[in-house]
C-alpha cells in the first residue's frame, strides 16, 4: 500500500464526503449527457432531462463554492447557464453550446482529481478560463429564441411555482393543453406510495408540472397534495383514468382541442394500467365523468353520459405519444439479481414438484393425483420459462454504453498524446447481461489503452511503413449462438513473436528448447510478469498486464485470445457467455464428489473404455470422428482418487467459441437447472471452478469453469 500522507483527520472527513458527492454528481451528469446526446440525435427532448441536468450543475456549483473551489464552482456556474437556457427553452436542441457540456464535465472531473493540491488547481486555471470563454461566446452567438406571448395565468397558481415550473406551465398553455388541478388526500405515514401511484397515473396522459402539499382535513394524520397537471385530455377523461377514491379534479384552464372522451377503448386500457399499481382502490370516482364500467357500454347511449353525444372521432396520435415519456425504467442491477435469484429458486422448486409428481404417478393409489400434478407442473414450467426469459431480457443491455465510454477514453488519449487515432465501432446493438457489461468496462479499457500506447506507432514510423498516418482501432461485437465475441483490432506494429519467446525464456516461463507453436507463443502474453514493453507510460496508468484482463474475462466465464501479424496489427478477441444467471447444468461424478458443468458449454457426452484414449507427447487424446480431442482427467485436475485402470469413463465434450476439450469423469449423473453463485471468502479464485450451486437435496455442488479447463487442455502438458 502507498504511504499515507498525514493530514488533519477533520479535513479528511469533510473533504471525503465532498469528493464522494461530487463524483456522484459527475456520474449522474455523464449518464444524463449520454441520454441527451441520444435525444438530440432523435430530435425530441425530454423536459425532465434538461431540468435534471440543470439541478445537478446547480448542486455542484453550491457544493464547490462551500469548499472554496473557485475554478470548479465557476465552471459549474457556466454549465448551469447552458442548462438553464436549455430547460427554459432559450436554447434549441441543436444549439452548439450544448456540445461544450461534455468537455466542461470532464474538466470538472479533472479539477476534482487535483483537489488535494492548490498548485495543481491553479495550473488548470488557464484551461478553465479558455473553456469559459468558449461557453460565453456560444451562448451569445445563437439567435434569440422566438418569444411567444404568454397567455394569462391565474396569479394564485403561480404563487408556489419555481421559475422552471412556470416555464413548463407556459409551454403547456402554448401547446393548447388543458390544465387541471388534481387533489387527493393521503395518510401521513404512507403518502409516498399513494402519491407515487397518482403521479405515475397522471404522467401517463400528461405532464405533472408541480406537486404542492397542503394540510389535510386532519392535519396530524393526513396530508393533501395538489398536482398541477397539463394534458390533452379533459377533466372527464382524466378522472376515468386516475380512478382514485378521494381525488378531485378541477379544470383551471380549458385546452384548445376538445379531447374526445369517446376514446374510451384507449382509456380503459390506460385505466387498467393505472390500477395495476394501486394497493386498494374503490371503483367509485367522485368526478362527474362516466363510471369505468360504463365504458364498455355503447358510447352513444345518451342516458348514461350526455357529454358523449358527439360522434366518435379517429384517435389522434398525440395521446399515444404522451405515453412515450415514461416508457423506460431505470432498474438497480441489485434488484435484477434478486429477481433472478427468486426465479432460480422457483425453478428449483418446480424441479422438486416434478419429482413428486413422478413418485405419485408410480403408485397406483395416487396415480390420478400424479397425473393432475404432472399437468399442473407442465403449465408451471411453461410460465416459469416465460418469466425467466422475461427477466433475462430485462438484464440485457446493449454494449453501446461501454463502447461510448471507450470512445471518450480514446478521445482523451488522443488529446493528451497527440497520436492520430481513429476508433471504429461496430455492433453496439449487441446485447449482454448487464452485469457482464459492467464488469467488461475495465478489461476492455485496458486492452484499448494498451493498443493505443504500445501497438500503434507514431505517425512518422507508420508512414515509413507505408501505412496511413492515422492509426485505426476497431471495436466490434458480434453474437455467435450463446456467446458474444468482442474484438479489439489495431493496425499497429503487431507483436514480435520472437521477442515474446526470448522474454519468456529469460523470465523462466519456458524452457529454452521448448517447442511452441506461434499461437502458443502469443498466448504467453497472458502470463503475469511478461511484457514486451518496459515502459509504463502515464497514459496507461499502472501498466496493467494482459494477465489481469484474462483473469477478469475468465471470471465472467469467457475466453480471451490474441492474434497478431508483425507490421500489420494485433487483434484481441473476447468470447463471453450471454448471461450468467440461471443455467442448465450437467452433473457429473468424479470419485466421491460431484461437479456441475454448464450445459451451454457441453457439446456431447460419450462413454469410453481406456483403450480409446491415445497418448502423444505427454498429452491424451480421443479420436472423435477423425479429429483429435484434447482430454483432461478431472480426478487428476482436482487431486481426487483415480478410478480403476480398466473402468469405463464418461467424456464430456465441451466447447466455447472454436475451442474444444474432453473432460474425463467417472459418472454422468443428471441434468438440472442451477443458479451459479460466487464462492465468498479469502481465496479469490479457484482454478477450474467458476462458482457453486445448491442442487436441492444433493447439497452444494461446485460448478466447473469450462473456459479455464479448455485453455488448460490446449496449453498444458500433463505431468508424466
Amino acid at each position: 500500500m502507498a504511504a499515507r500522507r498525514t493530514r488533519s483527520p477533520a479535513r479528511s472527513k469533510a473533504t471525503r464526503e465532498f469528493v464522494s458527492e461530487v463524483e456522484e454528481i459527475l456520474e449522474r451528469l455523464r449518464a444524463d449527457l449520454a441520454d441527451l446526446a441520444d435525444q438530440r440525435a432523435g430530435g425530441e427532448l425530454e423536459p425532465e432531462l434538461a431540468n435534471r441536468l440543470f439541478r445537478s450543475a446547480h448542486s455542484l456549483k453550491g457544493l464547490a463554492g462551500m469548499f472554496g473551489f473557485e475554478g470548479m464552482s465557476g465552471l459549474a456556474h457556466h454549465l448551469e447557464d447552458i442548462l438553464d437556457g436549455l430547460r427554459m427553452g432559450r436554447l434549441a436542441a441543436s444549439a452548439p453550446a450544448l456540445d461544450l457540456l461534455e468537455p466542461a464535465v470532464e474538466l470538472v472531473a479533472s479539477l476534482l482529481e487535483r483537489a488535494g493540491s492548490a498548485k495543481a488547481q491553479a495550473g488548470a486555471a488557464e484551461e478553465v478560463a479558455r473553456l469559459v470563454e468558449r461557453i460565453e461566446a456560444a451562448l451569445h452567438a445563437g439567435p434569440a429564441a422566438a418569444r411567444v406571448a404568454a397567455p394569462e395565468i391565474d396569479e394564485r397558481l403561480l404563487r408556489a411555482l419555481t421559475e422552471y415550473e412556470e416555464h413548463r406551465l407556459r409551454e403547456s398553455l402554448r401547446r393548447g393543453r388543458w390544465i387541471h388541478l388534481v387533489e387527493a388526500s393521503f395518510e401521513i405515514l404512507s403518502f409516498e406510495e399513494g402519491l407515487a401511484d397518482l403521479t405515475g397515473a397522471a404522467r401517463e396522459i400528461g405532464e405533472v408540472i408541480s406537486t404542492l402539499p397542503a394540510p389535510g382535513e386532519v392535519p396530524e394524520a393526513q396530508i393533501r397534495f395538489s398536482l398541477l397537471v397539463a394534458s390533452d385530455a379533459d377533466a372527464q377523461a382524466l378522472s376515468t383514468l386516475l380512478d382514485h377514491p378521494t381525488a378531485s379534479i378541477r379544470c383551471v384552464h380549458r385546452g384548445a382541442s376538445d379531447a374526445p372522451s369517446e376514446r374510451l377503448e384507449h382509456s380503459t386500457h390506460a385505466a387498467e394500467s393505472a390500477q395495476r399499481g394501486a394497493a386498494e382502490r374503490s371503483a367509485s370516482a367522485r368526478a362527474a365523468g362516466p363510471q369505468p364500467d360504463a365504458s364498455e357500454s355503447d358510447p352513444e347511449d345518451a342516458s348514461v353520459s350526455p357529454a358523449l353525444d358527439e360522434p366518435a372521432r379517429e384517435p389522434s396520435g398525440e395521446l399515444d405519444s404522451l405515453k412515450s415519456i415514461s416508457e423506460t425504467v431505470r432498474v438497480d442491477i441489485r434488484k435484477l439479481d434478486e429477481l433472478m435469484n427468486l426465479v432460480g429458486e422457483l425453478v428449483i422448486q418446480r424441479g422438486a414438484i416434478a419429482a413428486i409428481a413422478a413418485q405419485l404417478l408410480a403408485e397406483p393409489a395416487s396415480a390420478r393425483f400424479g397425473r393432475e400434478l404432472g399437468k399442473l407442473h407442465k403449465t408451471l414450467d411453461r410460465k416459469l420459462q416465460e418469466l425467466q426469459a422475461g427477466v433475462l431480457e430485462v438484464r440485457m443491455v446493449p454494449l453501446r454504453q461501454v463502447f461510448e465510454k471507450l470512445s471518450r477514453v480514446v478521445r482523451r488519449l488522443r488529446r493528451d498524446s497527440g497520436k492520430d487515432v481513429r476508433l471504429e465501432i461496430r455492433g453496439g446493438d449487441t446485447e449482454l447481461d448487464k452485469l457482464i457489461v459492467e464488469e467488461l468496462a475495465d478489461p476492455l479499457m485496458h486492452v484499448v489503452r494498451n493498443a493505443f500506447d504500445h501497438a500503434l506507432e507514431p505517425p512518422a514510423e507508420r508512414i515509413a511503413a507505408g501505412k496511413p498516418a492515422e492509426g485505426t482501432i476497431r471495436l466490434e461485437a458480434l453474437q455467435r449462438g450463446n456467446h458474444v465475441v468482442i474484438q479489439v483490432a489495431d493496425d499497429g506494429r503487431g507483436i514480435d513473436v520472437d521477442a515474446v519467446r526470448s522474454r519468456a525464456v529469460a523470465c523462466g516461463l519456458v524452457a529454452p528448447d521448448a517447442l511452441l507453436t506461434r499461437k502458443e507463443t502469443l498466448d504467453l502474453i497472458f502470463q503475469p510478469g511478461l511484457s514486451t514493453s518496459s515502459e509504463v507510460t502515464e497514459t496507461s496508468g499502472r501498466g496493467v498486464g494482459m494477465d489481469v484482463v484474462r483473469e477478469n474475462v475468465t471470471a465472467l466465464g469467457g475466453l480471451v485470445y490474441l492474434d497478431s501479424t508483425r507490421g500489420a496489427g494485433t487483434t484481441i478477441s473476447l468470447t463471453l457467455p450471454i448471461t450468467l444467471a440461471i443455467i442448465q447444468a450437467l452433473t457429473v461424478g468424479v470419485a466421491d464428489q460431484r461437479f456441475a458443468i454448464p450445459l451451454t458449454a457441453v457439446l456431447e457426452t460419450l462413454l469410453v473404455g481406456p483403450e480409446a484414449i491415445q497418448r502423444s507427447e505427454g498429452r491424451e487424446f480421443l479420436n472423435l470422428r477423425g479429429d483429435a480431442l484434447a482430454l483432461r482427467r478431472l480426478h487428476a485436475e482436482f487431486g481426487l482418487p483415480a478410478p480403476a485402470a480398466d473402468a469405463r469413463q464418461a467424456v464430456v465434450v465441451v466447447g466455447l467459441g472454436d475451442a474444444r476439450a474432453g473432460l474425463l469423469v467417472d459418472r454422468l449423473e443428471g441434468q438440472q437447472d442451477a443458479v451459479i453463485k460466487p464462492i465468498l471468502g479469502p481465496v479469490r479464485s479457484v482454478p477450474g471452478i467458476a462458482g457453486a450451486t445448491e442442487l436441492g437435496d444433493r447439497g452444494t455442488v461446485l460448478v466447473l469453469d469450462v473456459a479455464a479447463l479448455i485453455e488448460d487442455a490446449a496449453r498444458r502438458r500433463e505431468a508424466a
Binding site: G62, M66, E80, R159, L189, T211, A214, P219
Partner: protein
C-alpha cells in the same frame, strides 16, 4: 433545548450545516431530512423551533415546502430559513413571499449561519 429540522438533499451540505449548528452556543437537537417528503413526515413528530431548507431538491422542492409550512396553522409560527445556491433570484424572492423568514445564499460562513439561526430563534421566543 432547540429542535432544528434541516431539509437538504446533498449529504455533504447537510453535514456542514449540522456541524455548524451544533456549535450554536445553546443546546440543540438536530433532525435531518434528505428530501421534502421526509420533511413532511418529520414535521408532525416533534415541536420544531427552526426549519432550515434548501430550494433545489427533487420531488417536493423548497418552495413547495415553505408554502406547506406557512399555510398550515400548526407550523406557521416556526421560523423558516432558506439556504439556496446563487442564481434564481426569483425563486428566492418567492420563498420570502410565501412566508420564509430569512434566506442565505451559498457559499456562506458557518458563523453567518449561526448568527442568523440565533436571531430567528430569539425573535420567535419573544413572540
Amino acid at each position: 433545548m432547540h429542535h432544528i429540522l434541516i431539509v437538504e438533499d446533498s449529504p455533504t451540505m447537510r453535514s456542514l450545516v449540522v456541524s455548524a449548528l451544533e456549535e450554536l452556543g445553546a443546546p440543540v437537537r438536530i433532525t435531518e431530512a434528505a428530501s421534502g417528503f421526509e420533511a413532511l413526515r418529520e414535521l408532525p413528530r416533534e415541536a420544531y423551533d427552526l426549519i432550515v431548507t434548501d430550494i433545489n431538491m427533487p420531488d417536493i422542492n423548497g418552495l413547495e415546502l415553505v408554502s406547506f409550512v406557512k399555510s398550515n396553522a400548526a407550523y406557521r409560527a416556526i421560523p423558516l430559513l432558506i439556504i439556496s445556491t446563487e442564481g434564481s433570484e426569483r425563486d428566492r424572492l418567492k420563498g420570502l413571499e410565501l412566508g420564509a423568514d430569512a434566506y442565505l445564499v451559498k457559499p456562506f460562513e458557518p458563523e453567518v449561519l449561526r448568527r442568523t439561526a440565533r436571531d430567528l430563534l430569539a425573535k420567535a421566543q419573544e413572540e
